[in-house]
Symmetry: C2
Subunit: 430 residues, 2 copies
C-alpha cells in the first residue's frame, strides 16, 4: 500500500499516485464536476470527481482518498487529486453546528465553547492553539539554553495561605486540601536545589467574577532564578524569554501565523520601564486618575500606559516597576532605597498586564518580619520558612499566563478564545 | 565587576581571577589550611584558605567567592580557587537534617521527603530530577518532530465517569466537580482537531492504598494519534518515543547520568511482544499462576515476564498485547479476529508496567454498543459521544508515568524517590 501523503505534500508530487486521509472539509457539486476538499493536519487538498456524484460522504466524515496528483494552478496549493477512489474510514459524520469550511467562524463564542471538540476543527480556531503551542516551546527552549531545569510540583496543597482567597477546596482522603493557585512556594524552594527552574502547568483560581481576563484554570509559565542582583536581572531574563516565544511562533507555526495574519511584536533590546510613582504622575496629568484613590492600576490605566509606551518609546511592551509593597504579596522584596515600593514589576503588552514578577525576599529573618508586619503567623508557613532558614540566594522570577499571551498575540479580547476547554464560574464542560 | 563563573568552568580558567557563587557544600578545617567546597548548579568548586580560618560561613550558607583559579591535579576537577575573598549573600544557614556533602544520602526516605526542599539539594537526589527533566524533553522533541501538537486540557471535570472510582471531589462554585484522572477524553477529542497531540501534565488518583507504585498526583506523558491501522502503529510510535527519551538523558543530562551511574537501556528496533493469552500460557507453565483466576497480570507476573523477555529476547522492554476486553476501559478497541481480546497493550520495563496504551473505538455506534454492554447510560457521556458522531479516524495512544519511568531508569523501588514533593494517602506536605 502507498504510504499516506499529507495535503501540503501534493504540489511536489504532481504526476504521482498518492493516498491521503482526512476529514471531508467541503463538498461542492456542480453540474459536470464534484469537488471534495479533504482536510488533514497539514492543510486542504482538492479532490475532483467527474460528473455529479451521488454517493458522497457527508462533511466532517473521515475518508481515505487514493488518486493521481495533477498540477492545476486554480486548485488550492496548485495541485489536486484526480481519478480518485474514496473510502470511508468511519461512519458518516453528523452535520456540525456551524459550517467549518467557511473562511471565518460563523458562530458566537458560547456556541463555539459549547461545541469545542468539533468547533476547534475550524482552521482558524485550531491555528490559535498552534500559536500557543509554539510559544510554550519557545519559552522552554529559551530557558533550557540558559541552564534552567524543568520541574513538576504539586497541584494539591495543604494550606490556602498564599493568598487566602479564591482557592478551590478538595476532599483529600477525608482531610481538607486546596488546589494550588501557583507554583510560587515550590519554585522558590527549588531555586535552592537547581538555581534556575521553570514549570509549565495548570493553576487554579476560584475566580467568582465573570470577566474576559480570568478563568478557574489557566496555564502558567513560571520561571524562577537565583543569584540575581535585583529585579532588573529578572526583567532582562523575561525580555529574553518573551523574545524567544515570539520567535518560536514564526519558526514553529508559520502556517498558523500566516492564516491568522498574526502581527508579531518586535521585542525591544531594552523594554522601556516606568516606575509606579512615575506612572501615577503620568496618569494624574493625562487622565481622570485620582491620585488619592487605590495605589493600583486599573485595566483602563494599563491601557493608557501601554498606548503611552507605544507613542513615546515605539514599544508594544512596557515594564511598570516598583509597585507599592502594600499591593504585593508578603514575599516581595522591597526597594532598598524606597522601602514603601517593591522590587517587582508587571509587564504590559498591548494594553494588558501579561506578566507579574519581581525579586523575592531571601533572608529567613526578613520573612519573619514581613509576616509579622502583616499580622500573619509563621506557624502557617513552616515548610516555606524552612527553605530560607536553610540558606537561599537572592532570587526572583515571573509568571506568564499562556492564554493571555496568546490572546494578545492574536488580538483576541477574551481569554476563553485561546483556551481549548475553558473552566469558569458557569462553565464546567465540555 | 567580574561576571559570575560556574564551578564547572574553573578548569579552563587557570590563572584567571574569577567570581563564583553558591552554597557552602562542605567545610574542612585542617591545621594549616581550610577548604571551603562551594556547590552551584554546575558542580563543586574547591576554595583554599591558608591557616585555620575562624570566621567561616556555616554549611549551606550562600556565598560569593572572588579569587584566583589555580590548577591543582588533586582538587576536584583539577582546579581550585586560591587567595579568596568570601562574601556572604545571606544569613548563616541552619544545619541541615543530614549532611548534604556525604557522597551517599545518609537519611531514610521519610526524612528525605519530610525535608524535601533542603534534602533535594544533595547532588545525588537532585540528579534524579535532571534525568526526569531530560526524559520529558526527549518525549516532546520526538513527538514535535513527528508533527504532534502540545495541548493543555482541563484538570477540573464535571463528571467522574471515566472510571468512577478513586476521584477527588472539588467544591466548584457550589457545584460538585472532580479532578481529572487523565486527559483521555480530551486527547481523543483533540485527535479530531490536530490528528496528533501530546500533553505533559498532572493527573490525580484518590488512591486509597499505600504502595510504592501509586501517588495521588503524578505526571502523565500522554500522546494520541489518528489515522492508524491498529494498535501496532501506536506501539511503533511508543518505541520511537521511548528511544528518544533514553537518548535525551545521555544528551541533556550527561553529568547527572554519570553521577548516578545510570544504566541506559538499549531500546530494540522492534520491542518483543507477547499476546496476553500466550503470556498466560507461559506463566501457567513456569510459575504458580492459576489460569482459573483473574484474567490480569499481578506485579509478580510482570516481573516474571520481564525476566523472560530479557532471557529469551535480550530486551529490557516487553509489550504484552491483547489484554482481555473485560479488563480494559469501554473505549478500548477489540481485536477484530478475537473480540474477547483487545487491541491494547502494556509496555513492561525492567519488571514493571511502564505504559498503557492501545487503539480506541472511533465509530459512534461502537461507543453506544460498548456502553450498553457495560450497562452504562450514554447520557453521562454526551460531550464525549458528540466527538465520535462528528467524524473520527481510527486512533490510539498511550500514557507514560514520568515518575515510574525515572524510577525504573535509576533502579529505584519507590516512585516517591522520583517525585519532588509526593502526595499520597498520608502526605500533603511539604
Amino acid at each position: 500500500m502507498i504510504s499516506r501523503s499529507l495535503a501540503a505534500d501534493l504540489p511536489a508530487r504532481a504526476g504521482e499516485h498518492v493516498r491521503i486521509a482526512g476529514w471531508v472539509h467541503r463538498l461542492r457539486q456542480l453540474k459536470s464536476v464534484t469537488f471534495v476538499v479533504v482536510r488533514d493536519r497539514s492543510g486542504l487538498a482538492q479532490v475532483v470527481l467527474p460528473g455529479a456524484e451521488t454517493a458522497l460522504p457527508t462533511e466532517e466524515s473521515v475518508v481515505e482518498v487514493a488518486g493521481l496528483v495533477s498540477a492545476n494552478p486554480r486548485a488550492p496549493g496548485g495541485a489536486e487529486i484526480v481519478r480518485p477512489v474514496i473510502t470511508p474510514l468511519g461512519e458518516p459524520a453528523r452535520r456540525p453546528v456551524f459550517d467549518l469550511y467557511r473562511p471565518t467562524v460563523a458562530a458566537s463564542l458560547p456556541t463555539v465553547l459549547d461545541n469545542a471538540p468539533l468547533a476547534l476543527r475550524h482552521p482558524r480556531l485550531r491555528a490559535r492553539f498552534e500559536v500557543a503551542s509554539a510559544g510554550v516551546a519557545g519559552f522552554r527552549s529559551t530557558l533550557d539554553e540558559l541552564g534552567f531545569t524543568e520541574t513538576h510540583t504539586p497541584k494539591i496543597v495543604g494550606s490556602a495561605t498564599e493568598s487566602g482567597a479564591n482557592v478551590f477546596g478538595i476532599d483529600y482522603f477525608g482531610r481538607r486540601a486546596y488546589l494550588a493557585q501557583s507554583p510560587q512556594f515550590f519554585k522558590q524552594a527549588l531555586v535552592g536545589v537547581f538555581e534556575r527552574v521553570y514549570e509549565v502547568g495548570p493553576v487554579f483560581r476560584a475566580e467568582p467574577h465573570d470577566t474576559t481576563r480570568h478563568l478557574a484554570q489557566y496555564t502558567s509559565l513560571d520561571a524562577e532564578i537565583g543569584f540575581i542582583t535585583d529585579h532588573r536581572d529578572v526583567m532582562a531574563l523575561l525580555r529574553t524569554t518573551i523574545a524567544g516565544m515570539v520567535e518560536a511562533v514564526s519558526v514553529r507555526a508559520p502556517a498558523a501565523a500566516e492564516l491568522l495574519s498574526v502581527a508579531l511584536p518586535v521585542v525591544p533590546e531594552e523594554i522601556p520601564a516606568v516606575h509606579f510613582a512615575e506612572a501615577q504622575e503620568l496618569l494624574a496629568r493625562h487622565t481622570e486618575w485620582d491620585p488619592r484613590g487605590e495605589p493600583d492600576l486599573a485595566p483602563a490605566h494599563e491601557r493608557w500606559l501601554s498606548e503611552w509606551a507605544s507613542r513615546e518609546h515605539g514599544s508594544e511592551f512596557l515594564f511598570v516597576t516598583g509597585y507599592p509593597m502594600a499591593k504585593r504579596p508578603f514575599y516581595t522584596h522591597p526597594d532598598p532605597l524606597r522601602p514603601e515600593y517593591s522590587n517587582s514589576f508587571d509587564l504590559l503588552f498591548r494594553g494588558v498586564e501579561l506578566v507579574t514578577g519581581g525579586q523575592r525576599l531571601h533572608r529567613h529573618s526578613d520573612y519573619l518580619a514581613a509576616l509579622d508586619e502583616r499580622g500573619q503567623e509563621p506557624e502557617s508557613y513552616v515548610d516555606y520558612l524552612d527553605v530560607f532558614a536553610g540558606g537561599m540566594p537572592p532570587h526572583g522570577g515571573f509568571a506568564i499566563g499562556l492564554e493571555r499571551w496568546t490572546a494578545r498575540m492574536l488580538g483576541l479580547a477574551n481569554i476563553r478564545e485561546t483556551t481549548l476547554f475553558p473552566r469558569d464560574l458557569h462553565r464546567l464542560r465540555p
